[in-house]
């Protein structure tokens, strides 16, 4: 919260001050009215002059107009500050999230990041606007009211002020209890986001298994939990308003009693007590709007803490760039090299152990291995989504840590397993914001064997895809993704199981295109089908994160039992069929 106040609001301090001054002026005008009224009762009326009464009446109207103008201008300025601050906070938060390291993303979880970016920044926005609008006015009314009553009768004012400490105590204790509740509430809302995302993603399965009732129940539980926390927080906060009212009114009663004594002993006048009452109502109203803001502030404090937690997280821009040229000479001719690399996600059990290989520019590496053997992890390390626990990964002879992350990734064209398509045109999905010409995109679509269906009678390059590419079949999606990877003619092409939904014919034509048009591209293909990788220059066989075979197809058929088995199962069919 502090950070928001100091860092994000700082550029607007001046504007806020100006708004404050304008609001102050307007509020003073508001406060003048009862003072004029008191003056009329005590001074003007006894003079018995209608003219004077009208004159003072006109003055009141002028004050009212000034109050209106001041308040409207100040309110608008406040909204502007709230808008700009929120925009800035959101921008920073989103930037941070885009650069967030995978480790941090895993730790926060995506649903939580989404809700921090939306509902938490919204809470902050609401608070900033409200507090400036009401928060300036209320304390001014409060302090101004007290100051004016001081000039009327200091003793009575002190009596009234004596109840304020009680109010402060109530407010601080409630907020101390309330803020953690709102933090918990936001966490519960993350669960909400998670479940809705999850169920939308799995709607087909849920319906197929007739599990809608079960999902309703799951949702019901979270819903109940959220409502419970909301209720508890609401009930805690609800104490503030009535107790504030109570204390202030008690103060008023004390004032009347004390006033009675003072009037009796000739120290005060009835008119003053009357005016006092009017100011008291103003003070009371001010306190009421403070208590209303109170909930919003507590909520915003909880949200601001959640936002700051993300802003402080580790981010890829913080990755250190290592100085290293030592190995450049000897490794110059190899494009990608792994040198005794080991890695573990949870730092307990190794997911990859002692991986070493080296491929030259233009060569192809095939990776094959059981489900869960660590194939995709190699890709993650290569793109530096995670850093290897041990060993070195070299690209063009340089350790990847010595390249800025962006520089590093510019070498790559990647298709992940389960890769993302966006709700945008086919062309834009291939381009993905890069500086590519129309021709490059069409070429890539052609190479990726997607031309036929893109140019289908019902479709075109500028047709919009549905969310996650839902209006494409599995194989069509994969081909658009491959086109995306090919479009920029990358130095290194990575296809992580990205032809699994392609039929064999399309797969074979794709490989042919790659051979013909991407000769200088170093390719890493991860696949289940031996036919997809058997022509690769090197094949890496993985089992449980360890290399159990490395060589060409022919070599491995001789030396690697696991590869033999895979080969037999897939090629065996070949002999049978022919």
């Amino acid at each position: 919260m502090k950070r928001v106040l100091t860092y994000y609001l700082r550029p607007y301090y001046l504007r806020m001050c100006l708004g404050f001054v304008i609001k102050f002026g307007g509020t003073i005008m508001d406060l003048c009215l009862p003072w004029i009224l008191a003056h009329m009762i005590d001074v003007v009326i006894p003079k018995n002059s209608k003219k004077m009464i009208f004159a003072w009446g006109v003055l009141m109207v002028i004050c009212a107009i000034l109050a209106w103008t001041g308040n409207v201008i100040a309110n608008r300025m406040a909204s502007k500050v709230a808008r700009d601050t929120t925009e800035h906070v959101r921008h920073d938060l989103f930037s941070k999230i885009t650069y967030l390291s995978n480790q941090s993303t895993d730790a926060f979880t995506k649903p939580s990041l989404i809700s921090r970016l939306t509902s938490d920044t919204y809470n902050l926005h609401q608070m900033l606007g409200r507090v400036q609008r009401l928060g300036v006015r209320a304390p001014i009314l409060l302090i101004g009211g007290i100051l004016i009553t001081l000039t009327l009768d200091p003793v009575l004012t002190l009596i009234l002020v004596s109840v304020l400490p009680f109010i402060v105590i109530v407010m601080t204790t409630t907020s101390r209890r309330g803020i953690p509740m709102y933090a918990r509430l936001q966490e519960a809302l993350d669960q909400f986001v998670r479940l809705v995302r999850e169920d939308i993603a799995g709607i087909r399965v849920i319906k197929a298994l007739s599990k809608t009732d079960y999902e309703r129940e799951r949702f019901g539980k979270i819903n109940e939990e959220v409502v419970k926390i909301e209720k508890k927080a609401g009930m805690t906060m609800a104490i503030v308003n009535p107790s504030m009212n109570f204390f202030l009114n008690i103060g008023l009663v004390l004032v009347i009693i004390a006033g009675a004594y003072r009037v009796n002993s000739g120290l005060s006048e009835v008119g003053k007590i009357l005016a006092f009452m009017t100011y008291f109502t103003i003070i009371l109203n001010a306190m009421m709007s403070i208590s209303k803001m109170f909930v919003i502030i507590s909520k915003a404090v909880a949200s601001a803490d959640r936002i700051v937690a993300v802003l402080d997280a580790h981010d890829e821009r913080d990755l250190e760039i290592m100085e290293s040229k030592a190995r450049e000479e000897e490794q110059k001719q190899s494009m990608i090299a792994f040198d005794h690399v080991s890695f573990s996600y949870n730092h307990v059990e190794n997911n990859l152990t002692d991986i070493s290989f080296s491929i030259k520019k233009g060569e192809t590496l095939g990776i094959i291995g059981e489900t869960g053997s660590g194939k995709s992890t190699i890709v993650s390390l290569l793109l530096r989504f995670y850093d290897a626990t041990e060993g070195t990964i070299l690209i063009n002879g340089k350790p990847i840590q010595s390249l800025p992350v962006e520089e590093l990734r510019k070498h790559f064209g990647v298709v992940f397993q389960n890769d993302a398509l966006f709700e945008d045109t086919i062309t834009e999905n291939v381009r993905l914001g890069r500086d590519l010409t129309e021709d490059q995109i069409r070429q890539a679509i052609l190479y990726a064997q997607a031309k036929e269906f893109v140019e289908d009678e019902n479709r075109g390059y500028y047709d919009k895809l549905n969310i996650k590419g839902a209006n494409l079949s599995g194989g069509q999606k994969q081909r658009i993704l491959i086109a995306r990877a090919l479009a920029a003619h990358p130095d290194i092409l990575i296809l992580d199981d990205s032809s699994s939904a392609l039929d064999y014919r399309t797969d074979a034509s794709l490989r042919k295109e790659l051979r013909e048009h991407f000769k200088n591209t170093t390719t890493v293909i991860i696949a289940q089908r031996i036919s997809s990788i058997m022509h690769a220059d090197h094949i890496l066989v993985l089992e449980d994160g360890a290399m159990i075979g490395y060589g060409t197809h022919e070599e491995l058929l001789l030396s690697c039992p696991v590869y033999q088995e895979i080969g037999r199962s897939q090629m065996g069919i070949d002999t049978e069929a022919s």
Binding site: I256, V263, A470
Partner: protein, 598 residues
């Protein structure tokens, strides 16, 4: 298999962006949610009246006390002062207690309403046709179920009390003022209509702005959800800066629309305040004149002013509430729009429950297209008897998944009929139809929960032994065993420790637990390595035993022993027969088959 449901969702999408004008309708529907708790609401009203009555009496009492002080030095009637002061304390205590009770009650009611509303929205989501989610961003839906409902809720819990209180206070204060000085009340004949007019004017200006604000926030959420979901891809293609630039546009739109709404909305407060000040000025002038004319005492003027403050305070509050209330209405409109989406058509009224399904599936002259004029399936005929294995092969995009969509009734056929055991599937309940299939899809779906729960998902009350047996058959048991927490390991949607192939094996294990007479495998093992696939083949065969199976596969090896192989291309069956027959034909299938080994 492409072009999902534009005919269905296309319409509804239009509807979403059509600006709803029916404010009264929205209010009535919101009212209906509240009316469920009519008794609690009446209680709240009673409390409001009580609490306000007590605090209204306050100024009168203080007026009496001041009258007792008025005689001046040495003449103050202390008995009366103390008497009234004592009464004031009592009244204020009661008033505070009542107002706290009221808050609690209102929180209680509003939570109930919100709970109900969220539940309704979620239930609705589950009843929508699957295609809805292909054209509606998850983030926007989340925005409706969280932000929009929260906005409604904030308004209901705070504002409703406030509005009730305002009405009561205003009526109360007004009648008190009439008692004190009917003439002076005439001031309000001028100012009250003025405030009503101003408020109306401002709200009619701001209404569309609040609507825009809700929508823009929804769009922002939609964008954020989509981008965060694709974070890895964006990073790999170093699109961070471009994405941030796109986000900035959405962000700017969202905050700007918020600002616009507030720019006009925040005028209401000062305006109403202005009118109040105006009436105070008028009261002062006329009060003074009346005093001069001898028809009012100073004490009267004092009480009158206090009441007029009482009168204006809540009206002021009310003005602030109005903008909140407007954003609540705008939010409610979005929620109701979602609730008004057409669900999957109801089951036929006399729909039967499919029980004891044998598993004879017959497809007769079926044609279907998601978009009119673009048929994906043309005049399809097929007989799959009990226990038969039907394989569907063909190039991608040929309509294979669409056929599954029709069998499961995610979509209804355009022309023709599908029968299960001689029952037309449109004449049976969807639930019982879907229950008679087990399905493993290419897109694995696991939810955040333990591995045990995920595998047992399709069969409530499955025991650990059954789950372990299924996992063993799917060759995923040893992997699970190696995890530190075994079957209690919590899976998260982006879990990095579990590969896609492993997820697929878990969904296969899930299907193994089902006892359905029919089975659909849509590329069920596409991400599983062939070695594992062979290892689980035996289990798969057992899974398929005595079941009518529909299998979509690219690896033709998996379907060689199918009873019928359908070769689809461009929505039509081009060849049909067993593996041997089709190989002999040397047609399309033969080509596909040969391509595997090229």
């Amino acid at each position: 298999m492409a072009n999902v449901a534009q005919n269905l969702v296309g319409n509804s999408k239009q509807k979403t962006y059509e600006k709803p004008k029916n404010r009264k309708g929205t209010m009535i529907r919101l009212g209906k949610y509240m009316m469920r708790y009519i008794w609690l609401l009446l209680l709240a009203l009673a409390l409001t009246i009580g609490s306000n009555m007590f605090s209204l009496i306050g100024p009168t009492l203080s007026g009496y006390a001041i009258d007792a002080i008025e005689p001046g030095a040495g003449l103050v009637e202390f008995d009366r002062v103390f008497y009234y002061a004592g009464l004031m304390v009592i009244f204020y205590v009661i008033s505070s207690i009542l107002s706290y009770a009221l808050s609690i009650l209102m929180i209680h009611i509003s939570r109930k309403v919100v709970f109900r509303m969220r539940k309704d929205v979620f239930d609705k989501l589950l009843s929508l046709p699957v295609g809805y989610f292909d054209t509606h961003q998850t983030g926007d839906i989340i925005s409706r179920i969280s932000y929009d409902i929260d906005t409604i809720n904030a308004s209901l819990s705070n504002d409703l009390v406030q509005i009730l209180a305002t009405i009561i206070t205003v009526i109360g204060a007004f009648s008190m003022m009439v008692v004190i000085s009917p003439k002076l009340v005439l001031v309000f004949v001028f100012t009250v209509p003025l405030s009503i007019c101003m408020t109306k004017l401002i709200t009619s200006r701001t209404r569309p702005l609040f609507r825009l604000r809700s929508r823009k926030l929804g769009e922002l959420n939609g964008f954020v959800e989509e981008m965060i979901s694709g974070q890895k891809t964006l990073k790999a293609y170093h699109q961070e800066e471009n994405t941030i630039a796109k986000f900035d546009i959405k962000n700017e739109e969202a905050v700007e629309s918020y600002y616009r709404a507030e720019y006009f909305g925040s005028v209401t407060g000062p305006t109403v305040n202005f009118i109040n000040n105006l009436s105070l000025s008028l009261i002062s002038v006329f009060g003074a004149l009346l005093y001069l004319a001898g028809s009012m005492t100073i004490g009267d003027i004092s009480s009158f002013v206090l009441y007029s403050r009482k009168f204006s305070g809540p009206i002021n509050e009310f003005a602030n509430i109005i903008s909140e209330f407007q954003s609540a209405l705008a939010a409610a409109e979005r929620v109701f729009l979602l609730l008004d989406e057409l669900p999957e058509p109801l089951d036929a009224r006399d729909a039967k429950e499919l029980t004891h399904v044998e598993g004879n599936v017959r497809i007769e002259n079926v044609s279907f297209g998601y978009v009119e004029g673009n048929p994906i399936i043309k005049n399809l005929n097929l007989n799959a008897d009990k226990g038969k294995l039907v394989a569907i092969v063909g190039p991608t995009g040929a309509g294979k998944t669409t056929l599954i969509n029709l069998l499961m009734r995610f979509y209804d056929v355009g022309d023709g009929h599908i029968y299960v055991d001689n029952e037309e599937i449109s004449q049976v309940t969807r639930r019982s139809l879907r229950k008679s299939y087990a399905m493993v899809l290419q897109d694995t779906w696991l939810f955040e929960g333990s591995i045990f729960d995920n595998i047992a998902y399709g069969r409530a009350g499955a025991t650990m032994e059954e789950v372990v047996a299924a996992a063993k058959a799917a060759k995923i048991h040893s992997f699970i065993k190696r995890l530190p927490k075994g079957y209690d390991t919590i899976l998260s949607d982006d879990g990095t420790n579990i590969s896609k192939g492993q997820k697929q094996l878990m969904t296969i294990a899930r299907a193994m637990l089902l006892e359905s007479p029919m089975l659909i495998l849509d590329e069920a093992t596409s991400n599983v390595d062939t070695r594992t696939e062979i290892q689980i083949q035996q289990a798969m065969r057992r899974l398929m035993e005595h079941k009518t199976c529909f299998v979509i596969a690219h690896r033709l090896s998996t379907i060689q022993n199918a009873d019928i192989i359908l070769v689809v291309n461009h929505g039509e069956i081009v060849e049909q027969g067993t593996h041997e027959e089709l190989m002999k034909q040397k047609g399309f299938y033969h080509q596909l088959y040969r391509a595997q080994f090229e």
